[in-house]
């Protein structure tokens, strides 16, 4: 009897999961540990150290600069959704920063009294925590304002995007740039608008001051945590901003894996193919704009509480460009790369360049004012990165393929134009 039992099928070892623990949780854990270290160092250790060390440390890494860098990172992540994920160039992202800031200015400050004479006695307080003696006007809880600002900015993003997203990418860049120029001008001149110039919607170049404090809610039960985070509780502000940054990262990472995120990546890589696969281009692009803008709104409110006011002069083109540089240099599409790029560039802008310049001057005995050369440094870095490392410092694997690999000429010679010329040829065809 040759009843040899059929050979047992070879045991196929299931392929090892591609993502190891380190690669999945390395970055998030790193971020968490860094945030805890920064907080505890500044909260408990630094006040105990001797004066010299403290001065030196505060020259290099003051807490305000750290907080500001964290806020920049929130903005950069928002821009990353538009530019990095969806491949839509936005040169006017500063508009959302401004809108978020002014939402805070309206809803979290005494300013609402000045908008129109009829509102002079307005006093609304919805869980708000106004600064002492400034409890008139509208005061809404910081956490609620975050949501409101995100919604307002998302709406603004849709309004800006809707008329222009049908256009080719260059035109889109230009129109966003236009909005980024119009809105600051509205902020600057918004002191006398409307019929007879009676409405004061932005307080002009004087800006809005007296932004509310951040309430800590249930966390105030923990000993040592203040009930409201005032202007000088920088370390607690850091915790709030870092938490929001973490939320922004989490949202970015999760959306990317989902249906919407994959649709964004698809239109970034080939719009025509994506639409053939049934991706509704307009809706997906608009949602990219809306989500990116919502991050901008959150960041704008954070920035308003960070500086305790809203100043119209802050919102100019160079902000948009700096954000773009953060996204591009950090690594378009890679959340961690963009975050690192934003933190580093923001620090260089605020204190790093001047401090490094001082070290250089002390070491060589020269007298170079490095801060006055920031245009050259920024410009040269942008150009060099575009020439030699287009995918950024910490590239995303997919972006790297897209940016580094395709020789457009090769594909074109096979009969396909990559960028948006399909409409033109179609139009030509119908004209004949």
């Amino acid at each position: 009897m040759s009843t040899t039992t059929p050979a047992a099928p070879p045991v196929v070892k299931p392929p090892a999961p591609k993502t190891s623990f380190a690669s999945r949780f390395g970055w998030p854990l790193g971020f968490l540990i860094l945030a805890i270290v920064v907080f505890s160092f500044n909260q408990w250790i630094l006040p105990e150290t001797n004066g010299d060390f403290r001065t030196g440390y505060n020259n290099w890494l003051p807490m305000t600069a750290v907080n500001e860098a964290v806020i920049w990172a929130i903005f950069a992540l928002g821009l990353n959704i538009v530019v990095g994920y969806s491949g839509l160039l936005d040169l006017g992202y500063v508009a959302f920063w401004g809108i978020g800031g002014y939402v805070a200015g309206w809803l979290m400050a005494p300013f609402a009294n000045q908008v129109t004479p009829a509102w002079a006695n307005l006093s609304v307080n919805i869980f708000g925590h106004p600064l002492p003696g400034q409890d008139r006007g509208i005061h809404i809880n910081f956490w609620l304002v975050l949501i409101i600002a995100a919604l307002v900015c998302a709406l603004a993003g849709v309004i800006i995007g809707a008329p222009t997203l049908r256009l080719k990418s260059d035109y889109l860049a230009l129109v966003t740039l236009g909005f980024g120029e119009i809105l600051p001008e509205v902020f600057r001149n918004g002191e006398h608008v409307g019929p007879d110039g009676k409405w004061n919607i932005t307080n002009g170049t004087k800006g809005i001051t007296g932004i509310d404090q951040i309430p800590t809610g249930p966390f105030q039960l923990i000993p040592g945590v203040p009930a409201t985070i005032g202007t000088f509780d920088l370390t607690f502000k850091f915790i709030v901003f870092a938490f929001l940054l973490a939320v922004a990262m989490f949202v970015s990472l999760r959306i990317r894996e989902g249906r919407l995120g994959r649709a964004w990546l698809a239109i970034r890589e080939d719009e025509l193919a994506a639409s053939m696969m049934g991706v509704p281009l307009m809706r997906i692009k608009l949602s990219a704009y809306a989500v990116g803008a919502a991050f901008g709104g959150i960041g704008g409110v954070c920035y308003a509480t960070h500086v305790g006011g809203v100043l119209a002069d802050r919102f100019n083109f160079s902000v948009s460009i700096t954000l773009l540089a953060m996204v591009v240099l950090g690594g378009m599409g890679n959340v961690w790369g963009v975050t690192v790029g934003a933190l580093v560039l923001a620090w260089i802008n605020s204190t790093g360049l001047a401090q490094l310049g001082n070290v250089w001057n002390d070491a060589t005995g020269s007298n170079v004012n490095f801060a006055s050369h920031n245009f050259l440094i920024f410009g040269a870095v942008l150009v060099l990165f575009m020439l030699f490392r287009r995918e950024g410092l910490i590239p995303e694997t997919r972006t790297k393929q897209v940016l580094q690999e395709p020789e457009r000429g090769e594909i074109e010679s096979l009969g396909a134009e990559m960028e948006g010329t399909a409409e033109n040829t179609a139009a030509e065809g119908t004209k004949k």
Binding site: D170, Y171, I182, E185, M386, G409, T425, G429, K432
Partner: protein
Amino acid sequence: MTQTAIAASEVKPRRLPRETAVSALGLLLVAAVVVWVLYEAIKSPQEFASLIVAGAGNGALYALIALGYTMVYGIIELINFSHGDLFMLATVLSGIICVSLFNVDSFGFGAVGAVALALLISMAAAALVNVAAERVAYRRLRRAPKLAPLITAVGLSFMYQWFGQRQFMTGSAPKQWSTMFGDDGFNIGDVRVPYTTVTVIAITIPLLLLMVYIVQRTRAGKAMRAVAQDQDAARLMGIDVDRTITFVFALGGGLAGAAGLLYLQSVGTSNYNLGFRLGLIAFTAAVLGGIGNLQGAVLGGFLLGILSSLNDGMLLGQQWSMTVVFTVLILLMVFKPEGILGSPTTEKV
């Protein structure tokens, strides 16, 4: 390109009701602007005429810068953001030549010679810088995704601004220069026409005609049009693509140089961040006229100059001028993205 499959469908698609509505709305907007302009013209003709003259002077400058933009865009579809800053460098250079070297401060035989020399030098220098930028940066990025050359252009624009910021250039604060004509001018009726306006227009129009001649009548122009249509096919036909693109950059730079000198002579101030604002306005002008179309750029420049001058004088005032310019741009994008003179099938450059 896969022409055949698409060209076979010769049936004209039915216009969607939405498209009709959009174009009707656009026409309505244009009509409203025209009515407003006519109303202002009848109400105060003298003020209106002087605003038109001032606007035409500005418009000619916008047109010159827009020409450079539109030529470069026409051939390699690159928004050359650094063009405005190149223009800024040219204003400073021409100021240094005219004022620091030759002390031009009034009209005279020597002054005209000095200004003409400055015109030539600043045109040559700007052309050289533009060609160098193309050589070093843009050429390597020609096959890269579109974002790359655009960001490179922004980076170059920063570097130019840094150079303009140096103390021997214009410094970080606005700088005043003496000019050949100053505020001199002549009167037509009650309307004062500055000599500078006449000069600017008298130089812009011939330059436009020269450009049109080069693009449409010369061999180099034919090569440009071919490269604009299809670089690979042009290369197969024996056209030196690199040299053609370099030539276009040289022409664009030269136009920016000319615009720089004329701006300095008519306004008399220079500032390191001047190029950003004027570059944006000029690009809007180029889009308004139909990007890639030379006559369109000039038309767009004049229209935009006159419109913003009317706004400064009669509508919202100068503090809103960028808003007006960009509102025009955005409305244009919505209603007629191909511009006034451009049509979807227009030949580029």
